[in-house]
Structure formats: structure tokens, C-alpha cells
């Protein structure tokens, strides 16, 4: 008697794929600890030295900006390098020969790396708020804000991962993009300290929008600005993932 049925449902496939992707902790946990927790923590401490003189608003910006940096390193950088590895080492081909959709695989990768980067984010949140003497007042909206901050970073990482011609190009582009996102808008530096042009660019910069949303839901006060932040983060994610879906090498002639 055959024990084989048709392909499993999406949720069943997703659980398997997330568990497979989580096995990446075996190679990535060291890099995640270093780049997602330690690097943002050191930069937070360094920037806070000057920010203390500028008042609490600046300190809050350094704090939320460092959290975004952690998300960028943990998700953008790692997803980029993972997808490049999958493309060049035959992993993507393996998955393409299974009865699964590539969107399920992509979602599994995002969830897995978010879960892997979450402890670093939490560590940074606790240690950072203690070091900078920031009183946290988390709002329930944070449950929506954190995924919406992670998704655009994952999307950018995925876009680089599916587009580059070799791993070296991927690594360079990932670092460049991280610094561009961190610099183009009020991410680590308060808006009033930036040139007007950077503040204009910052309106559509997902890192700036993520920092703003995190600041409002972790520290407060919240304003109508958060609706715009979340809308831009959601729209940006959709657009980038649409392009990723088109560009990802998969079964010949199929988009699913």
C-alpha cells in the first residue's frame, strides 16, 4: 500500500521548511550574535556618548536606530548570503524538485532568520535600554510593528541574494545597502541633525520608517505618523517581494 499522498498543505510544508531552515543555526549563530547583537550594541554605546548632550530625543533615535541595524544585519545580510549559497550550491534546485511552491520556501527562510535574529534583538533591547537609561513603554502594536520592520529588511536581502552574479558581489552589495539604508534618513541620527535632502529620502527609506515605528511603539509618544510608517513598510515589502518572486530561479517557465 502506498503511504504517499499528494503534496501536503501549505502550513504543513511551511513547518517542515522552517525547521529545515532553522538548521542554519549550526553555521550562522556565531555571525548572528556578533553582527546582530554586538556590533549594534557597540555602535549604540558609541553614538550615545554624543547623543546624551543632545537630549532624550536623540538618545531614543540612537536606541531605535540600533535596533533597526540589528534587524538589518540579522535579516538583510543573512538572507542575502543564504540565498546566494542556495543558488550556487544546488540547494534551490533540490527544493525545486520537491512538490512545494517557491513562495512557501521564501516565507520559511524569512521566518527562520527572524527567529534566529530575535534573541539578538531582545538582548540589544534589554541591554541597550539599561545602558542608555531609557524607560520602555511597549504598546501592543509592537506585535505588528516588529514583523513589519523585519519584512522589508528580509525583502532587500532576498532581492540582493537572487540578483547578484557571485557570493563576493552579494557580500559587498549587502554591506553597501546596509550603510545606505542606515545613512539615508533619520535612522541613527535625529531628523533635525540631518540635511533636508536626507530627510526627504528618509520618507521612503524602510530603515527610517522602521526606526520611527519602533521608537513610537517601544518608547512613545505615538502619533498618526505610525500609520504612514506601517503603510510604507508594508508597501515596500510587497513591491520588493514581487520582484524577488519574478527573479528567483526556480522550475523552468514557472513562477510558482
Amino acid at each position: 500500500m502506498s503511504t504517499r499522498s499528494k503534496a501536503h498543505s501549505y502550513p504543513v510544508q511551511l513547518v517542515d521548511l522552517v525547521l529545515i531552515e532553522l538548521s542554519n543555526w549550526r553555521w550562522s549563530w556565531r555571525s548572528i550574535v556578533v553582527v546582530s547583537a554586538l556590533v549594534p550594541l557597540f555602535s549604540m554605546v558609541g553614538l550615545s556618548v554624543y547623543a546624551r548632550d543632545l537630549g532624550s530625543e536623540a538618545l531614543h533615535t540612537v536606541f531605535s536606530g540600533s535596533l533597526v541595524m540589528s534587524l538589518m544585519f540579522g535579516n538583510l545580510g543573512n538572507i542575502q548570503s543564504h540565498l546566494v549559497f542556495m543558488r550556487f550550491q544546488g540547494t534551490l534546485e533540490y527544493f525545486a524538485t520537491l512538490p512545494i511552491h517557491k513562495h512557501t520556501l521564501m516565507l520559511a527562510i524569512i521566518i527562520a532568520f527572524f527567529l534566529l535574529s530575535f534573541p539578538a534583538l531582545l538582548t540589544l533591547l534589554i541591554i541597550g535600554s539599561a545602558l542608555l537609561e531609557i524607560s520602555l513603554a511597549p504598546h501592543p502594536l509592537l506585535l505588528l510593528v516588529i514583523p513589519l520592520c523585519v519584512l522589508p529588511m528580509s525583502a532587500v536581502g532576498a532581492l540582493i541574494g537572487v540578483s547578484v552574479r557571485n557570493p563576493q558581489e552579494g557580500g559587498s552589495l549587502s554591506v553597501l545597502t546596509t550603510f545606505l539604508l542606515a545613512g539615508l534618513g533619520p535612522v541613527l541620527f535625529p531628523a533635525e541633525r540631518l540635511p533636508g535632502l536626507l530627510n526627504h529620502i528618509g520618507v521612503i527609506n524602510p530603515a527610517a520608517r522602521a526606526a520611527s515605528a519602533l521608537r513610537q511603539t517601544l518608547i512613545g509618544p505615538r502619533s498618526e505618523q505610525i500609520a504612514l510608517d506601517l503603510t510604507i513598510l508594508f508597501g515596500f515589502t510587497l513591491c520588493i517581494f514581487y520582484v524577488v518572486g519574478k527573479k528567483l530561479d526556480w522550475r523552468a517557465g514557472h513562477t510558482l
Binding site: S5, D16, I20, S23, R26, A96, P99, G253, H254
Partner: protein, 302 residues
């Protein structure tokens, strides 16, 4: 029943002067063991990748059980198990995990996938490696794991790219025995590429010979061998010194300093043996033409 119907496949890689495949057409029938032979760069892997829908053709079509593999994204993966030539997929999983997830993602229940994992570990002689991380396996062990992964959940068709490369003789024998058993017990259609023509001959039922992107011939080896003019292969070894003298105008090919090989017809055998300098003869082996001989015959004729 026709399993694979490959129709006039053409594929040219970007920047390449010559097509990798030049209008390849053939069929594979249900329950058949079909071997693809060819020299390096003949287009074997290109052909296989098109057959498992990982590579788009410039023109032509591939039907699987009568349905185009391009029609439905999930149609082919639900029927075909594929073993790539090289892959580092699932490198971070243990051997047991890789087998379990492959079986489960191909549609088995969790309980059945566990049983399947245990069965595969046993038949592929990998029980001791169950908890080893794949990345720490040797090249041969990794190849065996890829093969085991391809056979997980008993796909109706197996497409294998060089299943025995890097394997020691004992493991090669295990592979051929298991493939023969899978074919016999489950009626699985098996299509594979190999350079190991001598060993593959033990299980191949039909063969396709690729040369420079063209399918030179397809057919059952025993039928194709009828086309050979000289059906016998004689290998002779002499003490170092002069080359062997033959009674006929046959020209032997020197394999080593002391060993020669020649092909001859049955009617020539008596004369050749009679003319050999028996005192200097150290070894002699007479066999019928092999799949490898068939391969050289067709490739040299092009």
C-alpha cells in the same frame, strides 16, 4: 506506456558558440532502466536538467506520462525523484533529518516518513551515519545520501546524474543492486547518466549515446551490438619485448607496455590464437563486446 517523451530539444547557453543539445528526441517506457552515455561536454547534464524541469529549452517539448512538464509547476516534482551530480543541499541537516524531510515533503505522513527514513538508512547502508551532519560526510557518502534522498518516498520515476561517481567498488555494487531492486519491486522507471559503462551494463535495459549535443543512437545494448562488425574483444599480455604478431591484418591497440587489445570477428579468432607466441604470453582475456565498446563504436563513427 510511455513515461518520458522527449521531443526535439534544443538548448544553447548564452554566449556559447554551439548548442548544448541539438534536437534531441527519444522515449522512455514504464519500468525501463535507461542509461545515458556520453563524453564530457556531450550535453548529458543539460538534457537531464531539462527533463526534471530545472532548465528551460530553447525549443522542443517534454511530455511526462503524456502531459507537458511545462503545464503544471507541481506535476513533475510529484512524480520524479532527482539526484543532481553535485549539490550541497541540506548540508546542515543530519543524514536522518535529510531523509525524513525529503520523504515528508514528498507527501508521506509523518509516521510513514520516519519509517521511510529508517528503511533508506538500512538499504543504503547508512545506519551508522544517521546523526552525522551532511557537511561532514566524505564525497562518496554525500553522493550516496543524494541518491537516498532521490529515492525517498518512492517516486514513480528516478532521474539520476552519475549515481556511482566517487564510490568505492563495494558501494558501487550496492547502488546497482538497490536500483535493480527498486526497479523490479516497485516498477520504478530509472533514467541515469553514467561514465561507468562497464558496470552500468549489468542493469541497463536501453541506452542512449550522446555525442556533441546529439543523440547518436538509442536502443537495447544486445540489439545494438548486432551492428558491431567485430563482436569479440581480446586482451593479451606479453612479456616485455616485441609487440605481438597476428596472423590477420588486425592492428592491436596498446593499453600498457605489455598489454594489447583488439576487436575481431568470430571467424578470425582461430587464426589469431594460433599465431600468438604462446611462450611469451602472460595473460589473455576474451569477452564479447561491452557497452563501452558500443559507445566507442558509435561515437567514433560520427
Amino acid at each position: 506506456m510511455i513515461v518520458y517523451d522527449v521531443q526535439n530539444l534544443v538548448k544553447t547557453y548564452a554566449g556559447a558558440a554551439e548548442p548544448a543539445n541539438k534536437g534531441i528526441s527519444f522515449q522512455v517506457r514504464q519500468g525501463e532502466i535507461f542509461g545515458i552515455l556520453g563524453d564530457n561536454g556531450a550535453g548529458k547534464t543539460t538534457l537531464i536538467k531539462q527533463m526534471v524541469n530545472l532548465l528551460a529549452s530553447d525549443s522542443g517539448e517534454i511530455l511526462l506520462y503524456g502531459k507537458s512538464i511545462a503545464q503544471d509547476s507541481l506535476y513533475l516534482p510529484s512524480l520524479v525523484g532527482y539526484m543532481p551530480q553535485e549539490s550541497h543541499a541540506l548540508n546542515q541537516l543530519t543524514v536522518g533529518e535529510a531523509l525524513y524531510y525529503s520523504a515528508h515533503l514528498r507527501g508521506m505522513t509523518r509516521r510513514a516518513a520516519i519509517d521511510e527514513r529508517n528503511r533508506l538508512l538500512k538499504i543504503w547502508d547508512m545506519e551508522d551515519l544517521r546523526d552525522h551532519t551532511s557537511s561532514r560526510l566524505s564525497g562518496g557518502q554525500r553522493r550516496l545520501l543524494r541518491l537516498a534522498v532521490a529515492t525517498a518516498a518512492s517516486s514513480k520515476v528516478l532521474v539520476l546524474d552519475e549515481p556511482t561517481n566517487d564510490l568505492d567498488p563495494q558501494k558501487r555494487r550496492l547502488v546497482w543492486e538497490n536500483l535493480r531492486r527498486i526497479n523490479r519491486d516497485r516498477g520504478t522507471t530509472i533514467i541515469f547518466i553514467t561514465h561507468d559503462a562497464l558496470e552500468a551494463e549489468k542493469i541497463i535495459e536501453r541506452v542512449g549515446i550522446l555525442h556533441q549535443g546529439e543523440l547518436v543512437v538509442t536502443g537495447a545494448p544486445h540489439i545494438l551490438k548486432r551492428n558491431l562488425k567485430n563482436k569479440l574483444r581480446l586482451e593479451i599480455a606479453f612479456e616485455p619485448g616485441r609487440p605481438p604478431t597476428l596472423a590477420t591484418d588486425l592492428v592491436p591497440r596498446q593499453l600498457t607496455a605489455t598489454r594489447w587489445q583488439l576487436y575481431l570477428g568470430q571467424h578470425q579468432l582461430g587464426d589469431v590464437i594460433a599465431a600468438l607466441d604462446i611462450d611469451r604470453l602472460t595473460d589473455m582475456k576474451l569477452s564479447s563486446a561491452t557497452l563501452e565498446d558500443l559507445y566507442f563504436h558509435y561515437v567514433d563513427a560520427v
